[in-house]
């Protein structure tokens, strides 16, 4: 086969695959601008005849989408900021600070990675109910404030920091917290960005746990609100597509802006599952 034909085939296949991957997303955007009922006509229209923002207006004015967007932002941001701090401290300590039982404790955590999160969900619900947290933001935020994966990722990265740096600071009389804040944190910046995107995306996209723990609409996150709206408005395709746009767009933009860090983290995290 001549190189020219090979090149055409490879790029043609790539183009087709990319089209399949993003066509549904583009179609979603297009349908979200259609007037009500337009998407349920034959043949299915590809582009809106008269583009309108009516669906978005209805979502935010009547369906409480602003509230859900706020909830999602609040929950995902809180989880990201606090869990980043907890995971960084723990990961650094497991990598660089000596203490008795360190290896065994870390082994225990790694072993727990094989347990699917859903096993914990039923008692977790009872525990949070007992604590009075069910149907509050806390029900979603608190259990997510540390992750084994996050601690592991930071530990892998922090292992590369030379011990001399900390030793020198200790000889100069710096306390451990000062060493962490002024010497270690700046060195951990790349893994901080990576872990922050991972955490934010996971929190934003989470579905099963918020579905269980949020029993009233006022605390709904976007995925839960969208699932519940789509059961009420099965026929309202245009409205649902606008809802999907609002749900997907923030994370897609975040990913596009920071994809280098995200993809690096994906490889770091997959070195050992």
């Amino acid at each position: 086969m001549s190189p020219r034909i090979a090149k055409a085939i490879i790029n043609g296949l790539l183009f087709a695959a990319a089209a399949i991957a993003i066509a549904p997303l583009l179609y979603m955007v297009s349908v979200s601008f259609m007037t009500q009922g337009e998407a349920s006509s034959l043949p299915p229209p590809v582009l809106p005849t008269h583009a309108t923002l009516a669906n978005y207006r209805q979502l935010f004015l009547n369906a409480g989408m602003g509230r859900y967007l706020f909830n999602s932002l609040l929950i995902s941001t809180s989880i990201t900021v606090i869990s980043l701090a907890f995971n960084l401290m723990a990961g650094y300590a497991f990598a660089k600070l000596e203490f008795k039982g360190r290896a065994r404790l870390f082994q225990l955590l790694l072993g727990a990675l094989v347990i699917p999160a859903q096993v914990a969900m039923l008692p977790l619900f009872l525990l949070l109910k007992y604590m009075g947290l069910v149907n509050t933001y806390g029900a979603i935020i608190v259990p997510a404030l540390a992750t084994i994966f996050g601690v592991f990722l930071v530990r892998q990265y922090a292992s590369g920091i030379p011990d001399d740096l900390m030793e020198a600071a200790r000889i100069d009389g710096a306390g451990e917290f000062r060493i962490f804040a002024t010497i270690i944190m700046p060195l951990l910046k790349p893994i901080m960005v990576t872990l922050a995107i991972f955490t934010f995306l996971a929190a934003w996209n989470d579905f099963m746990w918020p579905l269980i723990a949020l029993t009233g609409q006022e605390h709904y996150t976007l995925p839960i609100a969208l699932a519940s709206l789509s059961r009420e408005h099965v026929q309202d395709s245009e409205l649902m597509m606008a809802g999907s746009v609002v749900t997907i767009l923030p994370v897609l933009v975040l990913f596009l802006a920071l994809q280098r860090y995200y993809l690096e983290g994906l490889l770091l995290g997959s070195v050992k599952g």
């Binding site: 090979a6 490879i10 790029n11 790539l14 695959a17 990319a18 993003i22 549904p24 997303l25 349920s40 006509s41 034959l42 043949p43 299915p44 907890f86 401290m89 723990a90 300590a93 600070l97 000596e98 203490f99 404790l105 955590l109 094989v114 699917p116 859903q118 914990a120 969900m121 039923l122 008692p123 977790l124 619900f125 009872l126 259990p143 404030l145 084994i148 306390g175 917290f177 996209n205 579905f207 579905l211 269980i212 976007l222 839960i224 969208l226 699932a227 789509s230 395709s237 649902m240 597509m241 999907s244 997907i248 994370v251 897609l252 994809q259 993809l263 994906l266 490889l267 997959s270 599952g273």
Partner: protein
């Protein structure tokens, strides 16, 4: 302050969260699964009784449990190879020196991974709509018979598999790309000089060199696919005729619709044991294949 005390201060917040909100509930789930915890126990804990393995025993006698397990296994057995095939194919295309616009194609192929399952499931439900969906319209216009994708019990699961493969293949694609880049180019060079065909190169160089990557990716994908829940919840509500009810869907309904938390915990544990056994078997099989 000495280092040991600092170390404990550093790890304590994370340990409290993980211990209290993950490890403790896992242990509690085991305890819960041997009790008859239900709505009455939820109202007053004194109604709780120890029932030993009765929950497990009753589950094994329920046809719905077996069909949910069957659907989940179907999803894993068909979905995982399709997903891995798509991932590896896309990774090889992107890795080819002849490919152009690589960053663009990589981003486009990866985009579905970062989207929210619920939102894209809503889109696909519309695309697969029997009457107004673009997919049936396309089939019809090239003279193919249309399909009641999500309404026909035989087609609902394949439709969900197609959706899941579309949503997830980009993730493994990135990992495969890294694996492919680690294969030394001289191996292919030598094979070409020996006159090996593209297929022979793939079979005798690419696949064996990718084996560790393949194993890791397979294990991650299998355990991910066992956790099927959001797709049937949004697209089919477990139907039609419960043809898309997965094990986790059953756990959710048992626990949070009927409030049989004891029985639901038993479902969760059975799923965990199956996932653990399958992962262990995959590790074992891959070791046996290695030269001593």
């Amino acid at each position: 302050m000495n280092t040991t005390r600092a170390a404990w201060l550093f790890i304590t917040p994370a340990l409290i969260i993980l211990g209290l909100f993950f490890l403790l509930p896992v242990v509690a789930a085991l305890v819960l699964s041997v009790t008859d915890f239900d709505l009455y126990a939820l109202a007053d804990i004194r109604n709780l009784r120890f029932v030993a393995l009765e929950n497990y025993w009753l589950l094994l006698q329920r046809p719905l449990f077996w069909s949910a397990l069957g659907h989940t296994v179907y999803f894993v057995v068909v979905g995982v190879p399709l997903s891995l095939g798509a991932s590896l194919g896309a990774a090889m295309l992107l890795n080819s020196p002849l490919a152009r616009f690589k960053p663009f194609f990589r981003t486009a192929l990866f985009a579905p991974v970062v989207t929210t399952v619920v939102a894209v499931a809503v889109i696909w439900r519309y695309l697969f709509n029997t009457k107004y969906g673009l997919i049936n319209y396309a089939l019809d216009s090239i003279g193919m018979p249309t399909v009641d994708w999500l309404g026909d019990p035989h087609w609902a699961m394949p439709t969900i598999i197609l959706f899941a493969v579309w949503k997830n293949f980009g993730y493994n694609m990135i990992i495969f790309m890294a694996g492919l880049q680690a294969i030394p180019a001289d191996l292919y060079e030598a094979a070409r000089i020996d006159g090996a065909s593209a297929w022979a190169q793939f079979r005798h160089i690419t696949l064996p060199m990718l084996k560790p990557t393949m194993l890791m990716v397979s294990i991650l994908t299998v355990s991910g696919y066992f956790q099927l829940f959001a797709e049937p919840y949004v697209m089919t509500e477990g139907g039609p005729l419960q043809s898309t009810t997965s094990v986790l869907y059953l756990m959710y309904e048992e626990g949070f619709k009927w409030w049989n938390l004891g029985s639901a915990s038993a479902v969760a544990f059975i799923l965990f044991v199956i996932m653990f056994a399958v992962t262990a078997a995959m590790l074992r099989l891959s070791k046996r294949g290695e030269p001593a």
